[in-house]
Amino acid sequence: MHFVMNDDERYGLDKKARLLGPLKLDSGGEFAPIEFAYETYGKLNADKSNAILVCHALTGDQYAASQHPISGKDGWWSNVIGANKPVDPAYDFIICINVIGSCLGSSGPASINPSTDAPYGMDFPVITVADMVRAQAILLDHLGVESLAAVIGGSMGGMQVLSWAAQFPNRVRSAVVIASAARQSAQNIAFHEVGRQSIMADLRWKKGSYYDGDAPTSGLAVARMAAHITYLSEAGLTQKFGRRLQDRDEKSFGFDADFQIESYLRHQGISFVDRFDANSYLYITRAMDYFDLADDYGGILANAFQNTKTRFCVISFDSDWLYPTSESRRIVHAINAAGGNVSFVEIKSDFGHDSFLLSAPEMNQIISGFLKAGE
């Protein structure tokens, strides 16, 4: 993909910045310096009114619309960002930042702790979604972006969008929250705990101090396999795999990956460990589990949107049982109760939570129409 680039060297593909911050953390204390890995697409216009921040999900990264350096795949949201797509670098200045706690270049447990010259490991502070967002705000200040035409994201990206709108209402003109929730449900915390226990039960995890040896890849792969099931739907799995056998005509009466779905999940697990750090998986799932936007607003979600001028668009998918429509409705209810401006659609899809990452023409039309109306 070809992008128009600014001359400014703060902008462009595969950028890094190290800022002093400090970042105030929900857990108390401060974190500094902060490393940021990010990308920008398109050109910031003269009145700086066309900036769109794209927020990534749990295992996402800053490569929203450019080739991933490890997997070689297209950007994770190439369906939404690109020429003649809802977010178009010909018109928009698009920013995507690797969240803190992650492992694609922004500060995380695998980063070097300047006070020890060794990776932080478990000394990295436990961060929250609100911390991720405040960190992003520090980078946007550095990039000279005060006001955002839109903040947009799915899943954990949607949580960041909500946190952005609540923490920085005057910086966010439009907010698109897709397949997300204003709080992590008990069921979702439960799935995350299975993943974390799988990592921590891997003997190579060594309480997070594995960076000088083998990483706990078996634990991380199993965590990914379990999580991946939650991103799909029974209808989607049946349609894609059914009970079909993998490269064989008969059951093996053993424990090979007889079924296509087993083979697929194993592949998902194995390929994931090449691009993701196990400790980051612990930290980011923890941040999601701690997320309940109402916490900072007296337990009343509507108070998070009091007097908001931000326009909201909330989208859910009917087969998404991880972040079901009921969670989206809860957000819509709160924004309406606060007298805010919100649109909401539940889109029909067989592909579960992952629907927001796939080609979804209806979602694209909605995002496109919503963003254009805000210009």
């Binding site: 326009r311 668009c313 409705r329 819509v332 209810h333 309406n336 109760a337 007298g339 401006n341 919100v342 649109s343 909401f344 659609v345 539940e346 889109i347 029909k348 209806e362 039309q365 909605i366 496109s368 129409g369 919503f370 254009k372 109306a373």
Partner: protein, 197 residues
Amino acid sequence: MMQSLRPDLAIIADNIATGSRILDIGCGDGALMSALRDQKQVDARGIEIDSANVSAAVAKGLSVVQGDADRDLYEYPDNSFDYAILSQTLQTTHRPDIVVENLLRIGRYAFVSFPNFAHWRVRLSLSFGGRMPVTRLIPEKWYDTPNIHHVTIDDFRAIVRERNWVQEKQWFLSGDTQTSRSGANLLAEHAVFLLRQ
């Protein structure tokens, strides 16, 4: 009159003040909302049950929430709109009375429009045909109709009195043209009421 709107919607549109805030319940693909936005600078919000309609409306840049008049009106604060509009939707709700109470709580004014089940064609069809009426404004068969609470103009006038709702204005339509209020219960196919708190 607003061009290209359904006649009942055109009446509603003509009687809404420029620059007001409206909530259109059962807004369909947003025809009324977009006309009001473009021609009267109205801040319009909508609720619509059908997801394809919602998608179409949001893609047009309208603020529409997929929802249900019976279930979702509670979340809107008191007096949050100048007008709450319920066009051709009253007869599809489970509790039309509660829905109208909600309209009058949410909006300073409420427009309610509905097909008149006492129109002479409907009466003829039932009296002489002995069958549930299927007419231009009530086109579905009894088994697949979304209209679960058929209502007549006199029924509606009665509930307005019983509940002490304040009736500001009323309009009646026969075909696509307005008709007089005398004999409306027999002669009008369609009624539009403007109520206020």
